[in-house]
């Protein structure tokens, strides 16, 4: 018997040498090994063989690496590129040869990459992109603590701003901005401008200057010519047609004639508001500078750290300054007032939005992953049917790298085409998404498919293309090319390994889809719970309109009375309109608008007025208001017209929470409570309680009912308010008439558009609706892709087993048993995937907790229900191949051998 070379050594050579020289090298080595065995000894020959291996591995590997990465120095670099061109042409031809599979792969990729691109464009614009100012990480936002509101920090008081500015030494400058107003009365219809009053140094702090003219200078502020304005690029184009000679022009508004000083570059926004038309200097009044009675926490403050100063140092310094101020003005600082310093991006974007965006990104990554796995599976299926052809190419001298490269090129080509389609789709989807985003998402206007987004799409495309191109390539290199030639695709160990891989991929798909579907299930459950919360009033079919009757002359009280009369007159006219059932008038904050009018309540038996959580939300209403809102009367009586008079007995109606909170188990009817009468909160007028109504959630379904107090409109301080119309048709249809009527009492004023309570409610639940719809969509997509993947694998397995099934049927197996057999196999895959998916979801669900409402992140109903749905979908997908198996004709199946 001839001696055999060491097997491991031979294997090392075989794995390392390029395909082309494999036979000659192995042959040479064996020939010499045999010769040496007989000339010397088998031991010496084996030692020699091993020395050859040791010394050859280096050159062999270098040679293969050089094949992978052609260098410019090798003289045949151009020829390699030619080879690549051939690869591309070959890949196109082979993709076109199986149009069905290519179409499915493209569709899945387009969905996956398209969803990724669209979501990334949102996430990028909202949280990832740096703020649009030079050195944005040096900018900070300043706030201060207060115990008066929740959350327990607020905007800055003007008095503190003055002292901080004077005493700090860590910032290059502090700038404040406050809301302003202005109505352009020259426009055809009076236009309310978005105005922001800003410290003159704001633009310097942000380091963004005007594109035309100049920004404010502090001299103008002190020389008391504050009627200067800087306008936005958008307003410049809209109002002045981009006139380059606009500088120096006078813009007459209702609150003065403003001289235009500068035009800001396009896309400029100051950090605390968006879509501003006009910036005017914020000049503080003497009151705002002195620490008197009023705490007006209304300044949004931005500052730039001095070079070398860290955020922590700035915080420490501002702590010192506020501590010194607090000991100098103990009364003023009774309710907090300590300075808080945040990184500007952290403040304007906020941790909540950031984690929300990352959650969406995570969900869409899951979708993309599923799409990738699916396409890898498709390509693998095709590579299997092409095994013969690939083996042939290998036999004809195509190197392993060359074949791998061919498969890679196919993958990249496919993903490039998918990306092109995805980007085209993303352009449309992004616009849709931007408009359907819940209100209040920072920087939403900047969402667009731009260079960064395209770069990300390109990256996703390359990564996915290489990933799913590589999977079949790895499979083939593992099997050896010649094995593919010999193995016609059935029965051999190679094809069994391939089956295992395909099954693994499907299990991965099912697992990811299950995790995503659980997320979707949790969001959907949250949303259903949200909608089932009782609001305490009926917001359907109600139209509201804000009216500010324009009254002149007399004292302030006279004007208020005149305004109230005008409102009631308006209500009477609206009530007479067809489609309107009843009309109430409300002075104060409109339910569901997010605003509230909260006052301390003086309750008998308590020394101090109740504030904080026990303060009352106060509404001044006409008698028709509560019935119009369908707030149920629990006890006592409703208001009458006799109550709604300035000289009537002061009365009040409480809700159940207020009654319980203020009077415990005692009957409050007939007793009195005190509510503030004027604008200061320390003079209380006593009111007799005449009735109790049900609890409401005017701030939305996610809030708990609070103490509420209703008093007649005529007994309150409001000469303006909301008209609340109960309609018996489509409330939107009444909008033009209502707007016209309202504008008749407020000439030359901007009339806010009437809004339905339903639309306000929609805004409150918009983020949850958005999450539910988007993640739900992702879940459905994932499920569909996974089901398609399962269908593909089951079809393949059935095709592989055609003969076996034929034999079984020939031996008398009933079709139903064959179906059962195939389905059992599918259930095996599904169950594995589902269990993995459940584990994945269970461990990742903690992250979702912040986005859920009244449902646990580990809600057993969802975790039990979602797998059932997936199982049914999976069985549906597997049923078709199973039925095909049951229709196998034994004769044909056996003949196909």
């Amino acid at each position: 018997m001839t001696p055999q070379p060491p097997r491991v050594a031979e294997w090392l050579i075989r794995r390392s040498i390029v395909w082309r020289d494999r036979d000659s090298v192995l042959g040479d080595l064996r020939e010499e090994f045999v010769a040496r065995s007989s000339a010397e000894s088998p031991r010496a020959a084996a030692a020699w063989y091993w020395r050859q291996v040791r010394q050859s591995l280096g050159p062999n590997v270098r040679r293969r690496v050089r094949d992978v990465m052609p260098s410019d120095q090798t003289p045949d670099a151009p020829r390699r590129l030619v080879g690549l061109g051939l690869d591309v042409r070959y890949a196109i031809r082979s993709l076109r040869a199986s149009p069905g599979l290519t179409a499915v792969a493209l569709l899945v990729l387009t969905l996956g990459i398209g969803a990724m691109t669209a979501i990334f464009s949102i996430v990028d614009a909202v949280v990832l992109r740096p703020l649009p100012y030079p050195q944005p990480d040096r900018l900070v936002a300043l706030r201060q603590t207060t115990t008066a509101t929740r959350p327990e920090f607020s905007s800055v008081t003007s008095q503190d701003f003055v002292d901080w500015t004077a005493q700090q030494d860590v910032f290059e400058g502090l700038a404040a901005t406050v809301p302003g107003s202005g109505t352009d009365q020259e426009a055809p219809e009076p236009e309310a401008l978005q105005v922001r009053r800003v410290s003159p140094n704001l633009f310097a702090v942000l380091r963004v200057g005007p594109r035309l003219g100049h920004a404010f200078t502090t001299e103008r502020e002190v020389t008391e010519n504050p009627y200067v304005a800087v306008i936005s690029d958008g307003y410049w184009r809209r109002r002045f047609g981009a006139d380059p000679n606009v500088i120096g022009r006078i813009l007459p508004l209702d609150n003065g004639n403003w001289q235009i000083e500068g035009v800001m570059p396009p896309g400029f926004d100051e950090p605390f508001s968006e879509s501003i038309d006009l910036w005017t200097p914020y000049v503080m009044s003497a009151d705002e500078r002195t620490r008197g009675q009023d705490h007006n926490n209304h300044l949004q403050v931005v500052a730039r750290l001095k070079p070398g100063v860290t955020l922590a140092q700035a915080r420490a310094r501002m702590d010192q300054i506020s501590a010194a101020l607090a000991s100098a003005y103990p009364d003023w600082y009774k309710r907090g007032g300590r300075a808080l310093v945040y990184g500007l991006a952290d403040w304007t974007i906020g941790a909540q939005v950031r984690s929300w965006m990352l959650m969406l990104l995570g969900a869409v990554t899951c979708v993309l992953l599923i799409a990738c796995v699916n396409v890898a599976n498709l390509l693998l299926a095709r590579a299997t049917t092409r095994g013969h052809e690939i083996g042939l190419r290998a036999a004809l001298g195509a190197g392993q790298w060359r074949l791998t490269r061919g498969l890679l090129v196919e993958g990249v080509l496919l993903s490039a085409a998918g990306t092109a389609l995805a980007v085209a789709a993303a352009y449309g989807v992004v616009n849709l998404l931007r408009t359907s985003l819940p209100p209040g998402v920072p920087r939403a206007a900047a969402i667009a498919v731009n260079g960064r987004v395209l770069a990300m799409a390109l990256l996703a495309s390359v990564v996915t293309g290489v990933t799913f191109g590589l999977v079949p390539a790895i499979v083939f290199s593992g099997e050896g090319m010649v094995a593919s030639l010999r193995d016609s695709g059935r029965g051999g160990t190679a094809s069994r390994a391939r089956q295992r891989l395909r099954a693994t991929l499907v299990v991965a798909e099912v697992a990811l889809a299950a995790a995503l579907a659980i997320g979707a299930g949790l969001f959907a459950t949250s949303f259903i719970r949200l909608l089932s919360v009782k609001e305490g009033f009926d917001y359907h079919g109600v139209l509201t309109a804000r009216a500010v009757p324009f009254e002149t002359g007399g004292t302030a009280a006279d004007r208020t009375t005149a305004g109230q009369l005008a409102l009631k007159d308006l209500a009477a006219r609206l009530r007479a309109m067809p489609g309107v059932d009843s009309v109430g008038v409300l002075g104060g904050a409109l339910p569901l608008s997010g605003a509230f009018h909260r006052l301390p309540a003086q309750v008998p038996g308590r020394a101090e007025p109740l504030s904080g959580d026990d303060s009352a939300d106060v509404y001044y209403v006409t008698p028709e208001y509560l019935p119009t809102m369908r707030v149920p009367m629990i006890r006592g009586r409703a208001f009458t017209d006799a109550d709604d008079r300035a000289d009537g007995d002061p009365v009040v109606v409480l809700n159940q929470t207020a009654a319980r909170r203020y009077f415990g188990d005692e009957d409050p009817i007939g007793r009195t409570i005190g509510l503030p009468t004027g604008t200061t909160l320390d003079v209380f007028g006593m009111r007799t309680i005449v009735g109790i109504v049900g609890d409401e959630r005017p701030l939305g379904p996610e809030t708990s009912p609070r103490p509420e107090a209703y008093s007649p409109l005529a007994q309150g301080p409001y000469g303006n308010g909301y008209l609340v119309l109960r309609t018996n048709g489509d409330p939107e249809a009444l909008v033009p008439v209502v707007k016209a009527l309202v504008s008749s009492v407020m000439p030359k004023r901007v009339v806010p558009p009437p809004a339905t309570l339903e639309s306000l409610f929609g805004r409150l639940i918009a983020q949850r609706r958005f999450n539910m719809l988007l993640v739900g969509l992702f879940g459905v997509l994932a499920m569909a892709i996974a089901a398609a993947g399962l269908y593909g694998v089951m079809s393949y397995l059935v095709a592989q087993r055609t003969q076996e099934i034929g034999v079984r049927m020939a031996l008398g197996a009933a079709p139903i048993r064959v179906i059962g057999m195939v389905l059992r196999q599918a259930v095996g895959l599904l169950a594995t995937g589902l269990v993995l998916g459940l584990v994945l979801a269970w461990s990742a669900a903690g992250f979702l907790r912040a986005f859920l409402f009244q449902v646990s992140a580990h809600d057993l109903g969802v975790y039990a229900g979602v797998p059932v749905i997936l199982l049914l979908a999976g069985l549906g997908a597997a049923y078709f191949p199973a039925r095909r198996a049951a229709r196998v004709d034994p004769l044909i199946a056996l003949r196909s051998e």
């Binding site: 040498i17 082309r20 020289d21 000659s24 042959g27 040479d28 045999v34 050159p59 040679r63 045949d76």
Partner: protein, 111 residues
């Protein structure tokens, strides 16, 4: 590296192919070099150099029938091409010119 400049290993391999004539293939080339120079060239290095020579157009190769002592594997025979012959000649000429007048112990240079 210019196309016609030979490295030392390439030089040796080309000479071995010339010497072996019709019988030049992996085993014989290796043995020829080892026997004449004592240099035991690893087979990996040999085939790397052979591929390079073939790409430069200095040699051509052809597969021949497998033989039993090779485990049924084919042989790759190598033959010198005209370009290889001229590269070999030029390389030799350059070396000869540079060696002219240099004593082999490299201590002194003759005039």
């Amino acid at each position: 590296m210019r196309r016609d400049v030979l490295g030392e290993v390439e030089h040796l391999i080309l000479l071995a192919i010339v010497r072996l004539g019709d019988t030049a293939y992996g085993v014989t080339i290796r043995q020829e070099i080892e026997q004449r120079t004592g240099r035991d060239l690893a087979i990996g290095a040999l085939y790397t150099a052979l591929e390079r020579l073939e790409r430069k157009g200095f040699v051509r190769s052809s597969l021949s029938d497998p033989t039993p002592e090779r485990g049924g594997r084919s042989k790759r025979h190598y033959r010198l091409k005209a370009a290889g012959a001229s590269a070999l000649r030029q390389s030799r000429e350059r070396l000869v010119r540079m060696w002219a007048g240099v004593s082999t112990d490299l201590r002194k240079v003759g005039s």
